[in-house]
């Protein structure tokens, strides 16, 4: 073994990095995932290689709708369970334990859902394991769900943050203590290899048969077992902490699922997941949409390229009655046009040109982006679609600003590390929907799919029987199921739902105690997450003492006690008294580093030299001046086309996306983007347009993209509307195919791709 210094975690011999002293060696995720959420155990293995006692801090973000329940700390000859007590008392108990020389552990939640797990007085050479139990939500879809668990923490933007590179491959971020208290963030490693190992072994419970279980983030091994829980594990022996685990579960059928079980005497807790298709279809009305693109530095590379493509595809969905706006933001906001524009080929071309010149650089001033979009909609209704990585700190304030705009926000997150919790809150708190994809997935397809959910809801004014909390959503959107948590007195058998113009009843199964308990805890963690986001700005900043008096803090304390779950007001603490504890020794404090999220450019975040040092740039050195004409706001538009500037931001981008073979989705996306504002394909004359439109429609349907399924449902709907407007009986065959999926024989994908389709060929196919 190479020798190590006593104080450094850093790699010792430059880039070789064979020897890194790890305070945390392993993080392993186990537990059960249900369609309504997950009940997880995260195992952290800490080991001290210091000569003094060690105090180690692991800083991590919570998944969406998550809350900590308990932890168990074990080591040689001991096992102690945590207590859930008021945060202040927990800190005191922890500090008392440390002062007495005892092993102590504290799990404390801060703003933005960041948790610091601190374990103090780990003795030299000792191994200590903390098993942390938590509940987490999932991203529900009509036909399944996506589960996301963060193995790293993305460096997030804040107006008063400080960030610097401290060595070639490590950087630090500090947030202002008046807003974030004593929360510590991990150092970020350019390369996660050599850091603690991570992995997972999970079981997926289900009521409907599986169509597919997959992961865009990790290679997985899946063991399906009929209707028994499927086991999903990391295929490799271990992995590195540089991205979220993302699991996709799809079911064979779209149907309502109700999970239930007895909890306390005479009470049954339930969770219901009700697909949007059971509520009806979305009425067609003119759409007013502003698309907001995050062009901050962290979006550099694949994310912004993907976002451009996604927006182009979204614009193709809009019809001639619709209008749209386009906003790009980083530190400042730029829009295509100050007001909404009608959808025309000319305006779409302008939008394309606008997107083409957008460069990713600068901070993420998210509120400025959606406030500009809200201004464009001007209180007259409409939706906002935000494409962002959501890498911002101080999210409670942004959420308050979003609620104040009173406009639904739809969010498409694009990143390999989780800001899922924030974006799901941003959408839900404003009545919208969010999707979160990794930058390596088909972001364009996810955007088109989310876009198809926007516009008029399929149902509104939803009411339910039973004690449902949180309140049912005010509107149901196509593609997004309603998820309800609640409880019944033991006698009730049915969950009744009623909405404007419809109703349904779902049987609630008797269930078992374990399911009932899990569902109740998921309800608690969802309620706590909702309230966590509602600290008024001035209270979020207030010291503990003062914050305690706020309504939000009071509500959180109550929820924590009721459900036995931690929140910012209640923390988990354990102290292990052992023989040989030596009072008064100061442990050596270390923060566990994490990997820079995959696909985020380390060099773009943390420039060389550190920004702070750059402020003292040496005088009199030779410089090659680059001219940038500065004009004060509002006219300021730096020309990003200058070679020197562009070079910095372009050289690191090496997409291999373009190199791949064109897939069916690529072709469909290309076809979708060609639709004219009236919904038909372009062409020389009506016959030419009709022939091409039929071919494209049948190409979609043949690929399984119909009026109700798949990301292209709104494109299919527009093609159908166009063909109906032609009023020709022969076209009915194609129109019917969009509904029932029965396609006349032929390679429609290939036919659709040809520049001109002879009408005679289409006519022949339709009459067969």
């Amino acid at each position: 073994m190479t020798s190590t210094t006593a104080t450094s975690f850093g790699p010792l011999a430059g880039p070789g990095r064979e020897t890194i002293r790890l305070a945390m060696q392993r993080l392993w995720l186990t537990g059960r995932i249900l369609p309504a959420g997950a009940h997880l155990i995260v195992q952290h293995v800490f080991r001290s290689e210091e000569e003094k006692p060690l105090e180690v801090i692991y800083s991590f973000p919570l998944p969406r709708d998550a809350a900590l329940r308990a932890f168990r700390i074990t080591g040689d000859g001991f096992e102690v369970h945590s207590d859930l007590i008021e945060t202040e008392a927990a800190i005191k108990a922890y500090e008392r334990g440390i002062a007495e020389g005892s092993l102590a552990a504290l799990a404390r939640q801060y703003g933005d859902g960041v948790v610091n797990l601190t374990v103090g007085n780990v003795r030299p050479g000792e191994t200590v394991t903390v098993r942390l139990e938590l509940l987490a939500g999932v991203e529900s879809h009509d036909d399944g769900f996506r589960f996301r668990f963060p193995f790293t923490l993305a460096p997030a933007y804040h107006a008063r943050m400080k960030a610097a590179r401290v060595s070639e491959d490590e950087a630090e971020v500090e947030l202002p203590s008046d807003e974030f208290g004593d929360m510590l963030l991990p150092p970020f490693r350019k390369d996660a290899a050599g850091l603690h190992e991570v992995g997972f072994d999970l079981s997926v419970l289900h009521q409907l048969p599986f169509e597919e279980i997959g992961s865009p983030s990790h290679s997985i091994r899946v063991k399906p077992d009929g209707m028994a829980p499927a086991r999903v594990a990391l295929a490799a022996e271990k992995d590195v902490p540089n991205r979220d685990l993302v699991l996709d579960v799809r079911f064979k059928e779209i149907a309502a699922q109700v999970l239930a079980g007895p909890t306390t005497e005479g009470v049954r807790s339930f969770a219901a997941i009700i697909p949007s298709t059971l509520f009806g279809a979305s009425p067609k009305t003119a759409r007013r949409t502003v698309i907001v693109l995050d062009r901050s530095g962290s979006m550099q590379g694949a994310p912004i390229e993907q976002a451009r493509k996604a927006i182009d595809a979204c614009l193709a969905v809009l019809g001639e009655d619709d209008s749209f706006g386009l906003v790009a933001f980083s530190n400042d906001v730029e829009s295509l046009h100050p007001t909404l524009l009608p959808v025309s080929s000319e305006n779409r071309e302008k939008a394309r040109a606008f997107l083409g010149q957008v460069t990713a650089a600068g901070g993420t001033v998210l509120a400025a982006g959606f406030q500009e979009a809200a201004r464009m909609l001007n209180g007259t209704g409409g939706d906002i679609l935000i494409l962002t990585d959501g890498q911002v700190a101080g999210t409670e304030q942004i959420l308050a600003q979003a609620r104040a705009t009173n406009i639904r926000l739809f969010c498409l997150g694009i990143a390999s590390a989780s800001q899922d919790r924030f974006l799901s809150l941003l959408a839900r708190e404003t009545g919208g929907v969010s999707r979160f994809v990794t930058a390596r997935e088909r972001v364009d397809l996810a955007a088109v799919d989310l876009f198809a959910s926007m516009g008029q809801p399929v149902a509104s004014g939803l009411k339910t029987s039973g004690n449902v909390q949180p309140e049912p959503p005010s509107a149901v959107f196509a593609g997004n199921p309603v998820v309800l948590f609640g409880e019944f007195s033991e006698g009730s058998q049915m969950l009744d739902l009623a909405w404007d113009g419809g109703q349904m009843s779902l049987p609630v199964p008797a269930g078992d105690g374990e399911t009932g308990q899990t569902v109740r805890l998921l309800q608690g963690s969802r309620l706590i997450t909702d309230w966590e986001s509602r600290y008024p700005a001035e209270q979020a900043l207030a010291p503990l003492e003062k914050r305690k008096q706020s309504r939000v803090a009071e509500r959180l304390s109550t929820l924590s006690r009721t459900y036995g779950l931690a929140s910012r007001e209640m923390s988990l603490v354990a102290v292990v008294k052992r023989a040989g504890d030596r009072a008064g020794q100061i442990p050596t404090t270390r923060v566990v580093p994490v990997g820079m999220p995959q696909d985020v450019k380390f060099d773009a975040y943390f420039a060389v030299p550190p920004p702070v040092l750059a402020a003292m740039a040496p005088r009199g050195c030779v410089m090659e001046a680059t001219q940038a004409v500065y004009t004060p706001k509002p006219e300021v538009r730096q020309s990003f086309g200058l070679a020197g500037f562009r070079g910095i931001f372009r050289k690191s981008h090496t997409p291999d996306l373009d190199a791949k073979v064109e897939s069916t989705d690529d072709v469909l996306l290309d076809l979708a983007s060609q639709l004219e504002p009236d919904g038909g394909m372009p062409g020389q004359d009506v016959a030419d347009r009709a022939a091409r439109s039929v071919a494209v429609l049948l190409a979609f349907v043949a690929a399984g993209r119909t009026l109700t399924t798949g990301a292209f449902r709104s494109h299919v709907a527009r093609l159908v509307r166009y063909l109906k407007s032609l009023n020709r009986e022969i076209l009915d065959v194609a129109i019917r195919a969009a509904g029932d999926g029965r396609v006349p024989p032929g390679d429609w994908l290939a036919i659709a791709r040809t520049a001109s389709v002879p009408w005679s060929q289409v006519e022949k196919a339709l009459t067969v």
Binding site: A163, N331, A583, A604, V612, Y630
Partner: protein, 134 residues
């Protein structure tokens, strides 16, 4: 001595969490206690050092940099000299130059400072000065 403090007392006096103080000690920003064991104690010098760290932080310094400057080290010079600069003409008679390779986050700070400077240099007759962005 009367001005000796426990870690908890030092934390109270400085307004910093005890964990934060331990973290500073581990990073070499602050010396360890003057006595070992149960009687571990801190002095007014510790408190003064913590106040100094807070002051430097308020000035925008990061802990890594404070560590170097408190240790008496000369701030490190960049290994790679800057290759290109932005030139901002903020008035007919004023030009500000900034490095083009700083982090996107730093760009915002610099940008705001230049805006501030530009505003302060603008002739008072300029009625457009307060106009908000479109």
């Amino acid at each position: 001595m009367a001005d000796e403090m426990t870690l908890a007392e030092l934390a109270d006096a400085s307004g910093l969490a005890a964990r934060t103080i331990r973290f500073y000690i581990a990073r070499g920003l602050l010396g360890g206690p003057v006595k070992a064991g149960r009687a571990a104690a801190y002095t007014a010098e510790h408190l003064a050092r913590l106040e100094k760290i807070k002051k430097l932080q308020a000035q925008g310094r990061m802990l890594s940099e404070i560590g170097r400057s408190l240790a008496g080290a000369v701030p490190e010079r960049s290994a790679a000299p800057p290759t290109a600069w932005w030139q901002h003409v903020i008035a007919d008679d004023v030009v500000v130059m900034t490095r083009n390779d700083v982090s996107p986050w730093r760009t915002k700070q610099i940008r705001e400072a230049i805006d501030e400077l530009a505003r302060s240099l603008r002739p008072t007759s300029d009625a457009d000065g307060k106009r908000s962005r479109k």
